[in-house]
Amino acid sequence: MKKVLALLLLATLAFMTITLVVDNNLLPDFGETKVENSVSDTYIKQNAMGENQDIKFGETKNLEIGSANAITGIVAGYRSFDTLGEVTVLFISALGVSLMIGTTDSWMKRSQSGFILRVGSKAILPILMIVGVYIITHGHLSPGGGFQGGAMIASAMLLLSLSDHEFMPKIKAFKMLEGLSGTIYILIGLVGMILMGHFLQNIDQTGTIGELFSAGLIPVVYLFIGLKVGSELTGIISDFMKKEANI
């Protein structure tokens, strides 16, 4: 009976969504999207403040955002305040997980990890960390950014805690790193507001597009987002490895 009701609900939903997608003019047809005349056009051409300039890789200087990766330009540039909210959502979920497990110092007992895991993790760990930092610092030039690199660093920590059972109880610095990098993110925004008049506004010129030290605040902001996401995800992993406190 319940399944019939669920199927009926889904059929109604499918009919409504598919008619909305297939025959109306609200959404473009699949593969026919035109970027011109949409808001993304200003994000790609970087002329939201009205300055029009031809963009050439490695030559054009002092663009509005200056990021070669248009997605990073949106996430950490035009919509950086939105990203602050996103980081807050991640923080609240980490806080929820941490509150539900309670303040306990007892950890789940696990059997000794195998030889291949112990030796192999030592070989892979430096590569994982270096690639994670590379992805964070090159977020404005290539695919990647703070969230992706932070997840990579957290996966390196997960590998380390799987091979060495004493690792997670020993490390206490991640909570402090998380709070510190979140605070610095807000402080960078406030400095932009005091000096230039808008929250998270670029203080200096953005430099030549395509260079490592370019794009104004984006690499700085993404570095702290990467640190925050990495330490937050590590905190969630270590919370899942704890045993529940006896109430």
Partner: protein, 109 residues
């Protein structure tokens, strides 16, 4: 027609969410729903001759696909991760208290 396939994936996840009795399977259904939704939002920005919106030395900004849906999906993925973490922790607390993941066996205690 990947956008219609994404809608089907979304409905599949919703069906799993509505009918299953197992909490972990509900979390899996929620994730399938979320993946379908993200895929659908990305297909809105897709362009047949488009390339990834990253400027390098050998392309120009005229060929880019729409970057805005991709940026929004990046936000949605992170929030989906947070939801999954909290949901798994709730499932673990339920299992510690009642010894089962089945929602039928929890009721009445």
């Amino acid at each position: 027609m990947i956008n219609l396939a994404a809608i089907v994936l979304m409905l599949l996840g919703l069906y799993a969410l509505l009918t299953t009795k197992h909490i972990i399977k509900m979390v899996v259904g929620l994730n399938v729903f979320e993946v379908g939704l993200n895929l659908f939002v990305i297909t809105i920005g897709f362009n047949k001759d488009g390339i990834a919106p990253i400027l390098t030395g050998s392309n120009s900004i005229k060929d880019f696909v729409d970057p805005l849906p991709q940026a929004i999906v990046l936000t949605a993925i992170v929030i989906g991760f947070g939801i999954t973490a909290v949901a798994l922790m709730v499932a673990r607390k339920i299992h510690e208290q009642y010894g089962t993941y089945d929602i039928n066996e929890i009721g009445g205690k």
